[in-house]
Amino acid sequence: MRVRLALALVLAATPLTAQNGNPRLAGRVPPAALAAIDSIIATAVAESLPTEPLVQKALEGGAKGIPVARLVNGVRHGLVQLRDARAIVSRSAPARAALDGDVAAVAAALARGLDPGLIERLLSADSEPPGPVLHAAADLVAHRFPADSAAELLRAAQQQGLHGTRLLDVAVAASHELQREGGRTPTEALARVRAMLPNIPVATPPHPRTVTRRPGRGS
């Protein structure tokens, strides 16, 4: 009798598992992690959060061979960041529904270490998709520019008509000014870029022939 009951429970549970599991993860994530990750993704769906960043994090962990516990923690950490991001988006624009793209962009900015208060200020000042301005701010902060000064520079650039990925050029120009021969302080570099607005050169990616042969992490 017990065996029959157990068998019936297994048979009943199998289709549910198959329906809930993300087909993109099958065979790409250790089987031991699959149930926990599916549960995290299901939570995100229930909370109307974007799930693609979580799927990507699971696929990344699977590809890198991350141990199961750390993999699941990584995906769970992604869920927490998405919740925080949605709260920031909601506070910065209470009148409109948080878009998945905006939430994912803010979560990415949080992952880059951008201060939540700064993110909220940048979102409140602009109605465009937040990805580029947040990355530009994160670039400036990563180059040790003061966060408030960085936000002011980006705001000035927007007022001068620079939008979208052109804001990334502002950050690149500031870092170039910082690295100029003779040396400039961050304040001087930001003032110089501000004086150049809106004529900021478009940053170009490195060409194979210009790659410096220097020992690095991968060399």
């Binding site: 580029p132 670039d139 990925t165 052109r166 194979p208 042969r213 220097r214 992490r217 991968g218 060399s219």
Partner: protein
Amino acid sequence: MSPIDPRLQEALDGERDPGELAADLGEAYARLIAATQLLSATPRLSVAARVMAEIRQNPAQAQTGGPLRRSIRWLGRPITVRLRPAWTLALAAGLAAVLLLPFERGGPTPGVTQGVAKFVGHFPGARSVEVVGSFNDWSRGALALNDDDHDGIWHADAVLPAGQHEYMFVVDGERWVPDPLAGRFVDDGFGEGQQNSLLIVRPAAAQP
């Protein structure tokens, strides 16, 4: 070739009276004389003369009007084209090749919401380098870098959706390495402080 009867030859040469010939030879003589007269006769009208005469008799069908009218008539005239099936198939295959085969344009061509990403890395002595990231679901073997001149600089161009992508290089199929030229990095979130490279692809429409 059968030899001609000497008496018949003499009659043809005028050295013998044809009336003296036997009946069968007389008959052959008469046929030969008739054939000679036919060959020596001039045709009454040449082919060209007969064609021109025909045209003159049918002025409505003649090439009247200027070059433009003649061209219009020629365009409107039905023609019959005869093609062998083998040639028709070859022609169709040629057209399909022209229309379907990709042209060399010097690199990949992005759509409006896509951009071209350039991956470059210095990995001297590496046997293989590939890029694995969120743009290809972190799948191995999807985007390989090349080092055609074996100088240790590996590179590849790829059309990617515009926006943010995390990625890493995989060297020799086993070593995961961030792109030192990426300029942007983000913690991978798995608790060991490892970093992914961060790429922001600009849409082609926004590129200079």
